[in-house]
C-alpha cells in the first residue's frame, strides 16, 4: 500500500511500516528527516514548513510512480509535515519496500532527493538569535551564513 500525504500532525513510523509490509518483500528502507539545532554552523530553534498541498501531493505521487518504474519497488510511503516543528521532530518520511535490498535503498535515496528538489514545500529557519529566514529567499535578511 502507498501513502502520499502532506499533513500538519506528527509523522508516525508505525503507519508507514504497516503500509510497506508485504510477504514478497525482503528489504525496507526508510529515511526520516528531522529538525536539527544548527544549519551551516548557525544555532537554530526549529523550522516552520509550508506547502502548496495539492501540488505537493501530486508531485510526491509522481515521484512514487517513478520509483516503482525505475527501481521496481513494491510500496512507497512519502509523508511531509507542515507547520511549526520543534527540534528533533520529523519533517519528512520516505519508506519503500522491495524484494531486494539494493533497490529499496536506492529508491529511498532517490525519493528524498527528488522530494527536496521538486516538491513545492518551503522551510523557514527560526534562528536561535531570534531572526527567521525562508531557506530559499535570495534576499534572506541575515547574511552571516549562506542560505
Amino acid at each position: 500500500m502507498d501513502i502520499i500525504r502532506v499533513q500538519d500532525r506528527a509523522i508516525e513510523m508505525g503507519e508507514a511500516l504497516e503500509a510497506i509490509q508485504d510477504p514478497a518483500v525482503g528489504g525496507q528502507a526508510l529515511f526520516l528527516g528531522t529538525v536539527r539545532n544548527h544549519f551551516e554552523g548557525r544555532p537554530s530553534w526549529g523550522l516552520f514548513y509550508e506547502a502548496y498541498q495539492e501540488l505537493a501531493e501530486a508531485e510526491m505521487a509522481a515521484i512514487a510512480a517513478e520509483l516503482k518504474a525505475e527501481f521496481g519497488v513494491s510500496h512507497v510511503v512519502m509523508v511531509h509535515r507542515v507547520g511549526e516543528l520543534a527540534l528533533g521532530e520529523s519533517a519528512v518520511l520516505v519508506a519503500v519496500s522491495s524484494a531486494h535490498r539494493e533497490e529499496a535503498l536506492k529508491a529511498c535515496q532517490a525519493g528524498i532527493d527528488r522530494i527536496k528538489a521538486r516538491v513545492p514545500i518551503w522551510k523557514k529557519e527560526r534562528w536561535a538569535d531570534g531572526a527567521t529566514d525562508w531557506h530559499d529567499d535570495p534576499d534572506a535578511s541575515s547574511g552571516e551564513t549562506p542560505l
Binding site: Y49, Y52, L55, V119
Partner: protein, 80 residues
C-alpha cells in the same frame, strides 16, 4: 477579461503581503505576461526565479490563462 486567482508561498507571500490575490487580465494573457505586468514590480525578482502551476498542475510561462484559473507562483523549493 479573465478573472485569475494567484497564490503565493514562502518569501513570495511575504513580499506580496498575502497568500493570494485576484487579477483581471485581458484575453490571451499568458502566465509570463501576468507575472511581468502585475507581480514582478512587487516581488522584485526575475521570472526565472520561479516555477508556475495552473490549477495545481505544473504550467509553462507561455500558458494562456482561462477565466477562473488559479495560478501559483512557486519559489525554489526547500522541503525535506
Amino acid at each position: 477579461m479573465r478573472d485569475i486567482t494567484v497564490l503565493f508561498f514562502s518569501y513570495a507571500a511575504d513580499r506580496m503581503n498575502g497568500r493570494s490575490r485576484r487579477y483581471a487580465v485581458a484575453d490571451g494573457t499568458t502566465v509570463e505576461t501576468l507575472f511581468n505586468e502585475k507581480l514582478a514590480p512587487v516581488l522584485g525578482d526575475a521570472i526565472g526565479q520561479f516555477r508556475f502551476s495552473v490549477n495545481a498542475a505544473w504550467a509553462d510561462p507561455s500558458r494562456v490563462l482561462a477565466d477562473g484559473d488559479e495560478v501559483a507562483v512557486i519559489p525554489p523549493v526547500s522541503g525535506g
